[in-house]
């Protein structure tokens, strides 16, 4: 399956929904900073991997899929749920990449400069996540029921 962009999806999201995601992302970032200040970096660092994007994305995905089904004259709520579950499966694979990102920053940052460390870790996050997704597509890994 090829990766593509569906720019029409941007129009389906309302300004209120964009604003909620901005506020939520900003709030989590501030909370992570406050917790690090109060309880130290070992505790605050946990929140650098807080699921700040997934809940809103899955909600919107299910909503858009439901609207699409209603427009097509079908009322299969299960389609919306399946789309959200697929999104969650991708997030599970992305979380492995997220752990590798953190591992690289932890190991490289004491000796590398900040920009190079974050750049290398970000590239590794993407490569690891993409490879896991690609292997799953080829059914060489994560042999689970497809939906």
């Amino acid at each position: 399956m090829r990766v593509s962009f569906d720019l029409a999806a941007l129009k389906k999201t309302t300004w209120r929904e964009y604003a909620i995601r901005f506020l939520f992302g900003g709030a989590v970032t501030v909370i992570a900073g406050v917790l690090a200040k109060l309880y130290g970096p070992a505790f605050g660092g946990l929140f650098l991997a807080f699921p700040a994007i997934f809940p809103a994305s899955a909600t919107l995905l299910e909503k858009h899929q439901r609207e699409k089904n209603q427009a097509a004259g079908t009322s299969r709520a299960i389609r919306g749920r399946q789309a959200a579950a697929l999104d969650a499966r991708g997030a599970a694979m992305g979380s492995v990449g997220l752990a590798v990102f953190a591992l690289m920053v932890w190991k490289l940052l004491p000796s590398w400069d900040g920009a190079s460390t974050v750049g290398a870790a970000l590239a590794t996050w993407f490569v690891v996540s993409f490879l896991l997704w690609h292997m799953r597509k080829r059914r060489t890994f994560f042999r689970t029921k497809s939906f």
Partner: protein, 112 residues
């Protein structure tokens, strides 16, 4: 002032990755961006400049446990949606308790 800056940068980075997740197809691929290091990208620069490299590296070490908690969070969300037939919103929000439990439990067991 630093928290206002943090809030704006965090909101922008999370929004950027969220938009990428919206427009990408197929959705299993877009889901990868649901677990992007958005909060880390928003905060690491500030943390490095304010606390230094070793302080930021300590945060990153804890982030590994946060990422493991994210994996459990996503797996529980899938089960709630597909097995228990919950809607996406209650499943994704309720499972945040799993993320919190695994993350804080892991911190207490390994890092405390």
């Amino acid at each position: 002032m630093q928290f206002i800056f943090r809030f704006i940068v965090g909101g922008l980075v999370v929004s950027l990755f969220a938009v990428l997740a919206d427009v990408l197809e197929p959705k299993s691929f877009a889901g990868l961006f649901g677990a992007s290091p958005s909060i880390a990208l928003a905060t690491l620069g500030l943390t490095i400049s304010a606390g230094g490299h070793n302080y930021a590296a300590m945060e990153a070490r804890s982030m590994i446990i946060g990422a493991a908690a994210f994996f459990f969070y996503a797996c529980v969300t899938i089960q709630l949606i597909m097995k228990l037939e919950w809607r996406a919103t209650p499943a994704a929000v309720s499972a945040l308790a799993v993320w919190l439990g695994v993350a804080v439990g892991g911190w207490a067991l390994v890092l405390r």
